[in-house]
Structures are given as C-alpha cells and as structure tokens.
C-alpha cells in the first residue's frame, strides 16, 4: 500500500487535479487499515494503523476481496469504479464527505492508480 505515494506523486496531472486537497483519510482493507495523508494533491504519507485509530476526515471501507477486484488491471463490471461499489454496497464511504465528493475525479483516480499492482 505504501507504493500509493510514489504512484500518485509521479502523476503530475493527478497531483494537479488534487491541488486543493489537504486531508487525511482512512483506507480499510478487510481487517487492515492505513491512514493516507494528502497535502496539495500529493500523498504525504501512508501509515499502517492498528487498534488505535488516528483521526481521519473520511473513511473508505471494503472487504479485501472487493478491493482486490477493484484493483484488477481490467476490472469486471461492478468493480470499475468506487461509486459502482457503493451502489452494490461493497464499499462504504463515511465521515465528512466534502473533500471526497468535491474532488471526486481526483480520489477515483488516486484509488485506481493501484490497479494491476495489488490484485
């Protein structure tokens, strides 16, 4: 998961798309979780978190098998998009949704940047 930083930060257009994003969100993959800090569109840090959960603005939570299907290089229908998973109730997006929704194209591409690398 830590490769998210290098993948996103090397994508200049994606960083530009998120140039007004400063937030920290929780990424939950089954029973594991990471805190992802974003600063001006760059991924500042990706930190594995344990039982003590840090503060976060919003959380993306899905079972491991669903994330694995989302992160396939050629995802099947229902796993091509975060909102597709929300519609099928395999992903929940919780918390203060403002940074996520107001930068939806950015966060969709950010999460998709792991495609073909974690599946």
């Amino acid at each position: 998961m830590e490769q998210l930083a290098s993948l996103v930060n090397a994508n200049k257009r994606l960083v530009w798309r998120g140039r007004y994003v400063d937030t920290a969100f929780l990424l939950e993959v089954g029973d594991e979780a990471w805190l992802v800090k974003i600063s001006a569109g760059r991924v500042a840090s990706v930190t594995r978190v344990g039982a003590v959960r840090p503060s976060w603005t919003f959380a993306l939570r899905a079972a491991r098998e669903h994330w694995q299907l989302f992160w396939q290089a050629d995802p099947k229908p229902g796993y091509q998009d975060l909102l597709a998973m929300v519609k099928k109730r395999t992903l929940s997006v919780e918390g203060d949704l403002y940074p996520f929704m107001s930068n939806l194209l950015y966060f969709k591409e950010l999460m998709a940047s792991l495609r073909g690398r974690l599946a």
């Binding site: 229908p77 909102l83 107001s102 939806l104």
Partner: protein, 290 residues
Amino acid sequence: MNVHFEPVIGRYMHVELLGKPHRVYVEEAGPANGIPLMCLHTAGADTRQYRAVMNDARILKDYRVIAFDMPWHGKSSPPAGFQNADYQLTSRDYLDLIIGMCDALQLDRPVAMGCSIGGRIALHLALEYPQRFRAIIGLQAGAHVDPYYDLNWLHRPDVHGGEMAAGIVSGLMCPKSPEAERWETLWHYMQGGPGVFKGDLHFYVIDGDIRARVGEIDTTRCPLYLLTGEYDYSCSPEDTRDLQRRIKGTQAVIMENLGHFPMSENPSQFLRYLMPVLDQIRAANSSKNI
C-alpha cells in the same frame, strides 16, 4: 488545409412547450423522406452524445436522424424567468416536451431512441403513446433506480458543478472505452448549467418510477427494443432483464464492453448493436408499405 463538414445541420426552433415560449436547438442529418429517428440525450447532457449516429452513412441512407437539446441543456435556453425557480423534470413535462417537439417537427410516427433518462421516458412513451411511434429503443433503460449518493452534491456553490457531475458519471462507462470518447462524454457533463443534472435526476430517481406499470406496455402496438451496456451500475443489465421478463415481446440485448453512454463512450462498439435493430425496424417498415 484539409477540412470537412459533417452532414449534421443544427438550427434553432422557436416553439411553445409546456405553455411557454422556448428557443430549442435541433440537429438533424439524413434524407428528408427517411424514417424519422428521434434521439433523446441523457440527464445533464445534450445532443452531442449522438454525434456518431448522426454521422454514420449506413444509418443516414434510410433514416432522418433528429435530436434536440432539451430546454436548459446544451444550446437550448431555459424559459424566461428561470432564475426564480428550481428546475425539476417531471414525467408529465418530459412526455409533453417530446410529443410537442414531434408535433412541431411534423414527424410521422418516428422511431424514438433515448438513453438513461431518455431510456426511462422511452418506457413511458411505450406505455402512453404507442400509436405515435413506429418503434421505441431504450438505451440503458430501467424502471427505477435507487439513489446511491446525495443528489444535493450536484448543486451547491462550494462544489464545482461541472466537475462534480463528471465525477458522478465517469465510472458508469466501460474503462476500456476509448479515452478520447470517454472524456468527450465527460466534457458534455462538465458544461451543464447549475442544477440542471440534479433537476433531471428528479425524474430519474423520484418522479419517473414506472415499476408498477411496465407490465401494461403492449409491444404489439409499438415494438420495444432495449440495449444495455454491461458496465452500467445506474441502469444495470439486471434492471433490463427484469423489464424483459415483465414486458411481453420486448427484445433486449446486453452490450459487451459498454456502459451507461453507449452512443457516446464507444460509438463503433455501440453501432454493432444498434444496426441490427435499425435494420429490423426498416424491414418491418418496408413490408408494411408493400
């Protein structure tokens, strides 16, 4: 310099719709005596979605393809005084708009083809106006959709409406559709006026629910074709199969490698599915004329 013009002609029609004067942008291509094919765009978008259908020589041989930007959309203006009220599309107004435009254009039993909200209203047309159409084609047509995000995100001053709308619809397409066509489709969404996409979705999510009545559609009065892209999670293949089960005589095809905007996100793939339907309608039309 190597330039060319498309066979598409765009004009502005002044017409009274819903009891008010309107200036409506209308495009058409194909022979004046061709079978009229009225194309209805999706929520928050405009006629540009049908650019490939309007440019396909095989279609233009037999069909007069027509599309109009709904009031508030594309190059059509909202009615005078629009600033004083919210835009909210209802089933009744949507039906009256389409029938009004068919009357204004003096179309003789056109084929209606609509996508998304246009696919939903196609079901309403099949139910309420089968005598007015020689066939109806519903693209991404479902009887109902449950909301999966708060529609208020689409119209608030602290969120960019165009980028919000594009973000909402981007994943509805097949990821393998050509990048340029996918982004062209998103650009149409980025250009929508404030609150227009949300106002259309009032019909799609709330007012246009036709689940209780689809069983009454009589396909012997007007043939109904349903074409649905497999990647669409807004109007899903399951929704279309459900319609096929409930409406006797419906012909439905689930389209591979397409999503919610088949005619716009990957035109050449879509035309592989549309052509047999148009050929079938043309053949039925010819046999009646003999």
